[in-house]
């Protein structure tokens, strides 16, 4: 029984690993192929099955004048916009969420839950609905086709996620902990910074992860709100497509665009395995 269990466990782990790793392996080998190798049947082992070349990767850094699509600048644009917008969203979102969790607001029939719902409702609308007001808004303040404009829009999109996750998280932290901090001589700001926040790190990590993911993968708004001055990675990658599907450069760009998310996932996983996400609050 026990041996069977161990066998099954490892069997499924192996199957799952193959399932997860195979697409990456496929993308990695494809990125080193050329037209002949891609169309020459299923091949995986370089130098044996096919002759590897760097053409797929070179396209990504060559300037358009030389027939490439230079993704280096869009890549850093994307990193900058995503990180800045996520950071600001987390800070503003966490503060709003704490207020919504601990204080009672009332303006006519609008109460705490309505305000929380207002934040979430920003994500209910299809992007196309939001794109028109965003476009007009950014054009009226002269921020179309700029990094700042994109950051502003992304904050609007990401902050609801942070608020939503953190309200729920703060509601699970006993109010008595804040009260004890006040009794122990903290003013409300110190109670938040010294006691509530350190106990909310797991929630902050989850919220941060979602913000980074949603910011990084956005194509729609990056496409609508930028033209020539500023470009983000997802939009630039689409420019790769032409009459002949360039599988090699598409694979290479897929790998570089997924890389930051993998790094984030590994950091979070490290933190998880230290046991820091569980048991903070009983």
């Amino acid at each position: 029984m026990n041996k069977l269990y161990i066998f099954l466990k490892y069997f499924f782990i192996v199957v799952w690993t193959v399932f997860v790793v195979a697409p990456f392996l496929w993308a990695l080998t494809t990125s080193f192929k050329d037209f002949q190798s891609v169309n020459g049947g299923v091949t995986y082992i370089p130098w044996v099955d096919f002759e590897p070349n760097l053409e797929g990767w070179k396209v990504l850094i060559k300037s358009p004048a030389k027939g490439g699509v230079d993704i280096i600048e869009p890549y850093f644009n994307s990193l900058f916009v995503t990180c800045t917008a996520s950071l600001i969203s987390i800070i503003l979102g966490t503060l709003s969420a704490y207020a919504l969790s601990r204080y009672t607001f009332k303006a006519g029939f609008v109460k705490n839950n309505d305000i929380t719902f207002f934040f979430i409702s920003q994500r209910i609308m299809p992007p196309i609905v939001l794109s028109i007001p965003f476009f007009l808004f950014l054009s009226s303040i002269n921020l179309l086709d700029s990094l700042t404009g994109l950051i502003v829009v992304y904050i609007v999109l990401l902050m609801p996620i942070a608020v939503w996750i953190m309200v729920d998280f703060f509601n699970k932290v006993p109010r008595e902990i804040d009260e004890t901090a006040l009794i122990d001589g903290c003013n409300p700001y110190q109670a938040f910074l010294k006691v509530v926040l350190p106990n909310s790190i797991p929630g902050l990590i989850v919220a941060g992860m979602f913000c980074i993911i949603f910011g990084w993968i956005d194509f729609f708004f990056a496409f609508i709100l930028t033209f020539t001055e500023v470009q983000l990675l997802p939009v630039k990658i689409v420019a790769l497509n032409s009459s002949v599907t360039p599988w090699w450069s598409l694979s290479a760009s897929a790998l570089v665009s997924v890389a930051p998310l993998i790094i984030v996932a590994f950091i979070v996983e490290r933190y998880l395995s230290k046991g820091n996400l569980s048991g903070a609050i009983k």
């Binding site: 902990i177 004890t180 001589g185 003013n187 106990n199 903070a280």
Partner: protein, 359 residues
């Protein structure tokens, strides 16, 4: 330095949590707030701490208007019934927290924390995580954290209620020792509880609270001996005092076909609607007594609680040994009637065996 409250009221919804509560607490004393759940005990303690602002009324401490001072400047300490500590800090850091907040020198902090750990019996635990401790140990940490501050007002909100029976007994004993050691002569200690036994053991000044209203104030002994109303008699006894509707005439207490000779302190009460109160411990099994039927027998610790019935009268008898009864068994009991109380129809005390309102 006295803590004086005048007509504190707090009514956040359609019910009073505090209803015209007044008191005068003097330094160096222990005050016990006795009341059932939802009687307003926690609200009162939070109001004293400054976590709640009353709708009306005043609190003065040391001659200063306490309501104008924010919580973090009041120098109070509070222990909650849930074991509240800072989960991200270890035991030492938890206890040191209020001292660090005051920017006290590191070496003094260390000395004080160690003293506090010693007094709650947790020496050697200073580097443990809070989550690794048992409930009783967690509660000791929060007690140590409140002791270390030398607060002028120490609030304990049902600190033992979430502990198991044995730990409760043990910790209650330690509390008593801590308090009697003269914790600090300038400290006002306020302890809230639902447990009459705890109240009597702590032996401080008792405030009986019900539905936000103060029903009676007095030393524990006085509350026990002369409860001023039926409600106080119920709240201050566990199991609650037995209440029997009876009539007194011709020097006899009559109910359910039983005649008992009235003791002197009850003999003159002949009004209608009189209620006789008798503690469950003042009824005993007796071969020659009156017959009752067993409705339920529960064994709690080393005593047996018998729920008995005769006609419409239901009573509870506690017996100091473990006995087995079956439901519907017949038992014979005797009343220690000279220890009976009498209450008027409106619930006010009419007469007590200890001399309250005689006749």
């Amino acid at each position: 330095m006295d803590l004086v409250a005048n007509n504190l009221s707090y009514k956040p919804d359609d019910q009073y949590h505090l209803n015209e509560v007044s008191f005068n607490f003097k330094e160096g004393n222990l005050y016990t707030i006795l009341g059932r759940t939802l009687s307003g005990k926690t609200t009162l303690l939070k109001t004293i701490a400054g976590l709640l602002t009353p709708d009306s009324g005043e609190i003065e401490f040391d001659g200063k208007n306490f309501l104008k001072i924010p919580v973090w400047e009041r120098n109070v300490a509070m222990v909650y019934q849930q074991f509240i500590n800072y989960p991200h800090l270890n035991v030492f850091e938890n206890i040191a927290f209020p001292l660090k907040q005051r920017k006290i020198d590191q070496s003094i902090i260390k000395e004080k924390v160690m003293d506090a750990l010693k007094s709650v019996g947790l020496l050697g635990y200073e580097n443990r995580k809070i989550q690794e401790l048992s409930g009783g140990q967690q509660q000791r940490v929060s007690l140590a954290r409140s002791l270390v501050k030398n607060a002028k007002i120490l609030l304990l909100d049902e600190p033992l209620v979430n502990l198991d029976y044995k730990l409760r007994e043990q910790l209650r004993e330690e509390f008593k020792n801590l308090f009697s050691k003269g914790l600090a002569d300038e400290t006002i200690l306020i302890y809230s509880t639902t447990d009459p036994r705890e109240t009597m053991e702590l032996n401080g000044e008792v405030i009986v609270l019900d539905e936000g209203k103060v029903l009676q104030v007095g030393p524990a002994k006085e509350i026990f001996e002369n409860p001023n109303s039926l409600k106080v008699a119920e709240i201050s006894n566990d199991p609650p005092m037995n209440i029997i509707e009876a009539k007194i005439s011709d020097n006899q207490i009559r109910f359910e076909g039983i005649d008992v000779e009235a003791p002197q302190h009850l003999s003159k009460l002949t009004e209608d609607g009189l209620k006789i109160g008798l503690r469950s411990s003042d009824i005993e099994l007796n071969e020659n007594g009156h017959e009752f039927e067993v409705e339920l027998a529960e064994i709690s610790g080393s005593e047996t609680l018998l729920h008995l019935k005769r006609g419409d009268t239901k009573i509870i008898v506690s017996i100091e040994e473990v006995l087995n009864f079956k439901i519907h068994d017949k038992v014979k009991i005797n009343f220690k009637i000279d220890r009976a109380y009498a209450f008027h129809a409106d619930g006010k005390l009419a007469s007590s065996p200890f001399g309250g309102l005689n006749g």
